[in-house]
């Protein structure tokens, strides 16, 4: 019988296995799950940005219908619970360790941002819990709000935390200050640029939710939660907050509807429901309302940066000086201290050979929602800074924007390339991606399109961004030396069942990335089994040995590499079994596409023959090899991976209204080896949508009293399909040299490379108005104010001179 087996391995655009359940409404998300006897939690949140809590009266609320319990900080403290831990410790100038104030599960003594949890009501229904929460009387004495970093750093500003005087978390530096000063001393020109990377609210489609349960018979706690990394939550919550050992704590992250970083972190609500469920011996569920998401999901970005670039007379970069203020918000979220430092300042070389770099970061506490990693995490901030700065420099030097980049690119023959800011890039070809994008975007034809737009009364501009990023997070030893409190390896357990189907247990987590398909393709390719025979299991600490989860474009580069390593072990064992069955020497057994063969003969055994023999070991070398066919591998990456590329954006501005329309967007990215081109393109398109959103409309605004002005979709602008062009996305590949798949990662590149391309295009469109910079987001009001020189423009930070 001839059977045509469709190509399902590496490089095939296989349709996503998970989409049927998602598109038909059969996904199982945390809020879909209910347990018998379940109670509901409602969190009472602070209406103040900064206030002393003088007293909390819960008596009336406790008597309301359906109320099972009300807890405040007093109960949490009496139970001996710990604070929410931070996963990273940054050591600043002079060896000074960062200030790490207590982050209580429920606000204790003070509230420090609007939305800070103050009490929790647990009741028979969510409505009853909410009714009772409204009856809780909290006496507050308002304290001065610290809505901005400037307010928090002002002399005499009140301290948000007693143990963080001056509201400074740390003052950190990287690079060689003396060498950088020397480079500036011999510069032909110094270009200066200041910018604010606008604060963003992640807004995953699925709001956060958590369901806690407790089995009094076994003493096991279960937390079902909207997490990108259930094992990390088990570690942080179990070891530091609840003090429950791992074997009595199961954390499940089922289908999760988007994370973008905001679901990496351990949040108070997870600890509350897990703890309360054990106390009440009943399951407890909490699901955020969208309004709560705005006030309690970690925000992203919010860096204020000054940069200076020293150039020689030919536009060659000599040195770069950067000073950043990074907003941490009210408390340190899990990854927060790493974002402006090790995930951002280490990228200051970009794709350029700048020989001397000095970066400084001051991290600041403010009375705002905590800020942490959000799609790209630190790399979008640095990329935006560099790619705007290079455009400003080109203009000041009178150089073409492509030419100045080309003069400074790290060339393909210079890899591995050691930057002056710690990282060593392994591979890349920035000229190739620039060329790919420039051709696809018809860069040469732009001036004609600009003229045609002008005839229609519209201002057309084009912007380029050539970037790289560091992901595939991360080499454990390296990040440990930089302050990470955990390893960042990944784990794969691969179980070949007796009849040859395969279950893969991965410590990564899929919340939109398509892992169930991409990873199955890897297994299909390496073990030669049909895709339908491979199941990817993730998101349950009771099934998977361990794992660090999904963020930093790490799942394939680290988690996929662990799978390859585990499959290598499967094949090695299979060869021994095959050698026994075929009475040949192990050295003579070859494995290819699911078949073990005695080299040079037609004697073969399939993987299924081997797995059956392994589980029914009648004819089996039982004295030498254990039965069964299952292997586990831990893979620790040797380096970060360095995707990069070129994004080209074309905009048209309506000068009458200030509206900016993205009319074309071209991306040529090097993400290493591509496993599923369709999924990669989808990931890149999604990232581009977020990057364009940041550049044009997304903006988080607090007023002087610390109230979040953009606390709903009425005021927080999210990009929609109608705001986006049809993207032209392609890849130009160089392989990662240090992982077995040659993959680099594609989850964040879209959001990293695109914002400066958009703003460079906006500035280009406004070139006749003498505009040198437009701060993000380039809203209609802002553009109109610039064009017409009207009030509103002064609220924009000064343009670079």
């Amino acid at each position: 019988m001839n059977v045509t087996i469709p190509f399902e391995g590496i490089g095939a655009s296989v349709k996503r296995k998970e989409d049927l359940r998602f598109l038909s409404g059969r996904g199982q998300y945390t809020d879909d799950m209910n347990r018998p006897g379940q109670l509901h939690a409602w969190i009472l949140r602070s209406p103040h940005a900064h206030a002393r809590i003088d007293g909390i009266d819960t008596a009336a609320a406790a008597a309301m219908p359906g109320v099972a319990a009300i807890y405040t900080a007093r109960d949490i403290e009496a139970a001996g619970l710990g604070g929410i831990p931070c996963g990273w410790q940054v050591t600043g100038k002079g060896g000074k360790v960062m200030a790490e104030p207590m982050h209580p599960v429920l606000a204790s003594g003070k509230v420090r941002h609007v939305g800070d949890p103050v009490a929790v009501v647990i009741a028979a229904s969510r409505a009853e819990a909410r009714d009772a929460a409204e009856a809780i009387e909290v006496a507050y004495t308002p304290l001065p709000a610290l809505s901005t970093m400037a307010a928090a750093l002002a002399p005499g500003a009140v301290a948000l935390h007693e143990d963080a005087p001056g509201n400074l978390c740390f003052d950190w530096e990287i690079g060689d200050a003396a060498a950088t000063d020397a480079a500036f001393a011999r510069a032909h020109r110094v270009v200066r640029f200041e910018t604010t990377n606008n604060r963003l609210v992640p807004n995953a489609m699925e709001p956060r939710a958590a369901l806690g349960d407790y089995d009094p018979n076994s003493g096991e706690h279960t937390l079902i939660t909207t997490s990108q990394n259930p094992h990390v939550i088990r570690l942080l919550m179990g070891a530091f907050v609840l003090k429950v050992p791992e074997h009595k704590l199961r954390v499940v992250a089922p289908d999760v509807g988007g994370g973008f970083g905001s679901k990496i972190y351990h949040y108070a609500e997870e600890a509350i429901v897990t703890w309360a469920a054990a106390r009440l011996k009943r399951p407890v569920k909490w699901t955020a309302e969208r309004s709560e998401s705005f006030l309690s999901d970690a925000h992203g970005r919010d860096h204020v940066t000054t940069a200076e670039l020293a150039l020689d007379k030919d536009g060659v970069f000599l040195g770069l000086r950067v000073a950043t203020l990074a907003n941490m918000g009210a408390y340190l979220s899990t990854f927060a201290p790493a974002v402006p430092t090790y995930l951002s300042a280490t990228l200051l070389a970009g794709v350029y050979r700048t020989p001397a770099i000095h970066g400084q970061v001051k991290a600041v506490f403010t009375s705002t929602v905590p800020v942490d990693a959000y799609r790209g995490a630190g790399r979008p901030e640095t990329t935006y800074l560099l790619e705007r700065l290079v455009d400003v420099a080109a203009k000041e030097m009178g150089l073409d924007r492509l030419e100045i980049r080309r003069r400074n690119f790290i060339r393909p023959d210079q890899f591995p390339y050691q930057t002056p800011v710690a990282l060593q890039y392994d591979s890349g070809d920035y000229e190739a991606t620039l060329k790919g994008a420039a051709e696809a975007a018809d860069l040469a034809g732009f001036e004609a399109r600009r003229a045609a737009a002008r005839a229609r009364g519209r201002l057309r501009g084009i912007g380029i961004s050539t970037y790289l990023e560091a992901c595939g997070i991360a080499p454990s030893k390296l990040v440990g030396s930089l302050g990470a409190r955990a390893g960042l390896y990944e784990v794969a357990n691969i179980r070949v069942h007796p009849t040859g189907s395969i279950s893969v247990f991965t410590g990564t987590h899929s919340h939109g990335q398509g892992h169930e398909t991409t990873f199955a393709q890897l297994v299909s390719e390496q073990l030669g089994v049909p895709l339908s025979q491979v199941e990817i299991v993730h998101g349950d600490t009771s099934k998977i040995p361990f794992g660090m989860g999904t963020y930093g474009s790490r799942s394939l580069a680290v988690g996929g590499a662990a799978m390859v390593k585990a499959m290598d072990k499967i094949i090695a064992k299979g060869r021994k079994i095959a050698a026994h069955l075929m009475e040949a020497a192990v050295e003579d057994i070859e494995f290819d596409r699911g078949t073990f063969r005695v080299a040079g003969t037609d004697r073969t055994r399939t993987l299924t023959d081997i797995s059956m023999a392994a589980y029914v070991p009648h004819n089996y070398p039982i004295d030498e090899i254990e039965p069964g066919l299952e292997e586990t591998a831990f893979y620790d990456p040797k380096n970060f991976t360095y995707p990069g590329g070129c994004h080209i954006c074309e905009v048209e501005i309506d000068p009458e209204t200030g509206e900016v329309e993205v009319v074309a967007f071209t991306a040529c990215d090097d993400v290493g080896r591509v496993i599923n081109p369709m999924i990669v393109e989808g990931q890149i398109q999604g990232g581009l949508a977020q990057g364009i959103g940041q550049a044009l409309i997304e903006h988080t605004a607090y007023d002087a009293d610390g109230q979040l002005l953009t606390a709903s979709f009425n005021d927080y602008a999210m990009p929609r399909a109608s705001d986006l062009p049809s993207f032209a996305v392609s890849t130009a590949t160089t392989l990662c040299t240090h992982n077995p798949l040659g993959v680099k990662g594609c989850g964040e590149v879209g959001a990293i490379g695109s914002p400066p391309a958009v703003i460079n295009a906006v500035v280009d469109a406004l070139r006749d108005y003498g505009v040198t910079h437009v701060e993000m987001p380039a809203t209609p009001l802002k553009i109109w104010s610039i064009i017409h020189g009207k009030s509103g423009a002064e609220s924009l930070p000064a343009a670079a001179e």
Binding site: I697, P780, S785
Partner: protein, 263 residues
Amino acid sequence: MYDFAYHKPSSIADAVKLLSEDPDAKPISGGMTLLPALKHRLNRPTALIDLSAIAELRGVKQEGGALVIGAMTKHVEVATNPLVLGAIPALAKMAASIGDTQVRNRGTLGGSLANNDPAADYPAAALALGASFITDRRSIPADDFFQGMFTTALEPGELLIAVSFPIPEKAGYAKLRNPASRYAMAGVFVAKGGQGVRVAVNGAGPCVFRQPEMEAALAANWSPEAVAGIHQSPDDLNSDIHGSAEYRAHLVTVMAKRAVAAA
């Protein structure tokens, strides 16, 4: 949301009776504004009177020189109705621009007008077209209907039944959407008909209003150029993080030009 009683009458008379019996009851049509307010606990009616089962509140008919549209007629129905498309295409086009597909399939003409959100679209159309508001007890001219932000001439318990739109000679609408909410940051509806030239502005101020200078200019010369030089005063216009009063004032002129061009 808080608890409330729920009634679903099948006649206008029953609905009016229910409303008259309970001053804290609220009628609900598409619920595009009321439901979110209830979910946010910003509104606490004792009862909701669901108007969706009252057949006589729906539909479009021509009566003489006017289109009479039932209050419960959905935006999508106005946008696609052949009578509207033939007689007042600007109204159909405006309805097609409201919110998104989901909103247009739930939201109703009467709900939007009775709510009188300053940034809603229908108030501009009704005011510019010189519509009459037919209630369970009287007919109210558009110039008297819109009284302020979220405030209309409707008395407590008074139910909007239908709106009669005189068929204009020409009409057009243009708006700039707020980047976040996608409501109108500023919109202008222009119409020329039996009541002369009327220009209504939504989104820019706390309530829809007429722009007399533009009306005079267009009466003399119906062309975009006629309004291009007329500046709306920013005094009393809305100002927020998305648009200053000055910006909105500027947009009124731009949208007026575009509305005339589209008419």
